[in-house]
């Protein structure tokens, strides 16, 4: 079997991995080819499982020895009992979710903690593009035209904080980062994150 390279993980996934306690039970919603789950299993001995929509990605996960279910996250999440997981991860998917509050509530029902990340729509390039060009912004993080984007929600770091109060969950930790779409490196943004961060990562509970 082809053992995947585990060190070269996407920068945002590296941050998420650093928050997870060894030996935890983890569910990764929209787990892709299982990059994060595989790393966590090898390095932190977690018991992980994932849900992914795309057949070829599911197949890659199962080949790697990860338990993954092909399906829609909004439906699949409903089957789990309360507090089944220590962490439920929703990485770079929130912007594609039709009913975010319902999903977040389900996520916190089945998991003790949630980790949610998304591209920050208030990055200065986004703001500038709209201001200067008058067109809907297209960035490396959100690279689609308005008519073909799967990203049906635009979210900023501030929006998510406001959303947490409205839905009624706690933000335990948050990190703003600047990294390119699939980049393995990046940096944590402390100064004016709402302007300079390309992604936000939140630990919620």
């Amino acid at each position: 079997m082809m053992k995947p390279e585990k060190k070269k993980m996407r920068f945002d996934l590296q941050i998420i991995a650093s928050w997870i306690e060894p030996g935890s039970k983890v569910l990764d919603l929209g787990c892709g080819e299982g990059e994060l789950l595989y790393f966590l299993k090898e390095d932190k001995q977690i018991e992980g499982t994932g849900i992914e929509r795309v057949e070829s990605k599911v197949a890659r996960c199962i080949e790697k020895g990860l338990p993954v279910i092909q399906g829609d996250i909004n439906e699949e999440i409903m089957d789990y009992q309360d507090n089944t997981f220590d962490y439920v991860i929703l990485s770079q998917t929130l912007q594609q979710v039709y009913e975010p509050s319902k999903l977040i509530q389900a996520l916190l029902r089945i998991g003790k903690r949630g980790i949610v990340s998304f591209p920050n729509f208030s990055h200065w390039r986004v703001r500038l593009q709209l201001l200067v060009t008058g067109y809907a912004p297209i960035t490396k993080q959100l690279p689609y035209e308005w008519f073909d984007t799967p990203n049906i929600r635009v979210i900023t770091l501030k929006d998510f904080r406001k959303f947490s109060k409205e839905v009624g969950f706690k933000i335990i930790k948050e990190v703003a980062i600047n990294t390119q779409n699939q980049a393995k490196s990046g940096k944590i943004i402390k100064f004016l994150p709402t302007l300079f961060a390309t992604y936000g990562i939140f630990l919620i509970g």
């Binding site: 079997m1 499982t49 057949e55 070829s56 599911v58 197949a59 996960c61 199962i62 080949e63 790697k64 020895g65 990860l66 338990p67 993954v68 279910i69 092909q70 399906g71 699949e76 089957d79 789990y80 009992q81 089944t84």
Partner: protein, 395 residues
């Protein structure tokens, strides 16, 4: 399932294998079947490949479907023209790697390829059983497989794998002997037949029973109900394919002619194909076995038998890690049935993986070469093997 015995393109094979058999339940110690009937002696034909390891922890049990047999891989002799029915999956370095695992496959109870069934001799009458053979169930088949494994000194199954009716046996193993089953791969299967699947089986059975040669199942000393069995097989074949696969494979093309013959010969290629498949089948399969096995599959109802009508309750007893696979164009065992199974397994907090493979070839897809299927089976088995080793080391 159809016969898709294919030679491995790289000529990798487990080599020569031998059919063996185990006889048990000699009177007065007959086995009691689910129906309450008693049966004995029972002979189960089986084959093994690979090496059983010292702690007997590397057993993979393969369950065959309707018309399969114990000959899962390898060849019977040097000049054997074709290998076992799942040679593409079972062998050295293959999806089910015989360098690592000890593979056991047995012919199901009620079949006609070495195990006790309606065509074998009834010790009471010294004639073939015919319809005196009791109706058997998937549970009875699994009970006999359990007796075989007991005989072989096997207490744990690393993985039980099978498609279609073989998949039903896989599920039955998981709930009947949960302490023995470490993992399970049910392929293209269901916890119970759809109405449509029962309907097709009934038409196939009627075709056999309408053949005058069938003679209420008592035909072993005369002409066999070949025409009926051939038609039954033709019906089966249609359900194993799909609209798409038939269109691609045959379209409306004519067989060896440029125009219609204006009679009832096989004009279309699909007619010729079905006639050929039907005729070929009667040489190797017993019509009564066809009746008994299709009936067993129609009776199978995991929910009713093990969960008071609830699939979630039925899987409550299971302990296995599951890999469930379905195929997009399989209309005999459609994906919604596999999904329902996965939901029930998941609701019990069990470890389950599920993938629906895109394939045009209908129900038969599970027997056809698929890199994706092979890689998933291989990866899943490696994982459960690793995890089992770690758990044992921890003890």
């Amino acid at each position: 399932m159809s016969e898709y015995i294919e030679h491995d393109i790289n000529n990798v094979t487990v080599g020569l294998v031998e059919k063996e058999s185990y006889t048990f339940a000699e009177p007065p110690n007959e086995i009691t079947l689910e129906s309450g009937a008693r049966l004995g002696p029972v002979t189960i034909a089986y084959e093994t490949c690979g090496q059983l390891n010292d702690d007997r922890s590397n057993v993979v049990l393969i369950c065959h479907a309707l018309s399969g047999d114990s000959h899962v891989a390898g060849y019977y002799s040097e000049d054997d023209p074709k290998p076992g029915w799942w040679d593409i999956m079972v062998g050295p370095g293959k999806g089910i790697d015989t360098d690592k695992y000890f593979v056991v496959c047995s012919n199901i109870l009620g079949s006609c390829i070495g195990s006790t069934g309606p065509c074998t001799y009834n010790p009471k009458t010294v004639e073939p059983y015919g319809l005196d053979f009791p109706v058997v169930t998937i549970g009875d088949m699994v009970k006999c497989q359990k007796a075989l494994l007991d005989h072989l000194g096997i207490k744990k199954i690393l993985s039980v794998i099978g498609g279609s009716i073989g998949g039903m046996q896989v599920l039955e193993w998981c709930v009947s002997y949960p302490e023995m089953v470490v993992s399970a791969i049910p392929l293209a299967t269901t916890t119970r037949h759809s109405t449509m699947a029962i309907a097709f089986n009934e038409v196939a059975r009627q075709a056999i029973m309408a053949d005058p040669n069938w003679n209420n199942g008592d035909y072993y000393s005369g002409s066999k109900p070949d025409l009926g069995l051939a038609v039954a097989r033709m019906i089966g074949h249609i359900t194993y394919l799909s609209d798409e696969s038939m269109r691609i494979k045959f379209g409306r093309r004519l067989q060896d002619k440029s125009d219609f013959s204006f009679n009832f010969d096989a004009d279309f290629q699909v007619e010729s194909y079905l006639r050929y498949q039907g005729a070929k089948f009667v040489d190797r399969f017993d019509a009564n076995s066809f009746l008994y096995i299709t009936k067993a599959s129609d009776y199978y109802d995991l929910e009713k038998q093990h969960g008071n009508g609830s699939a979630v309750e039925a899987f409550y007893k299971a302990r296995a890690k599951f890999l469930v696979i379905s195929f997009t164009s399989d209309w005999l065992y459609p994906t919604y049935q596999s999904r329902a199974m996965v939901h029930a397994i998941k609701k019990n907090g069990l470890d389950v993986s599920f993938c629906e493979i895109e394939a045009d070839w209908g129900h038969d897809a599970f027997l056809l070469p698929s890199e994706s299927l092979t890689a998933m089976v291989k990866g899943f088995l490696e994982r459960v093997n690793d995890e089992t080793r770690k758990e044992e080391d921890a003890l």
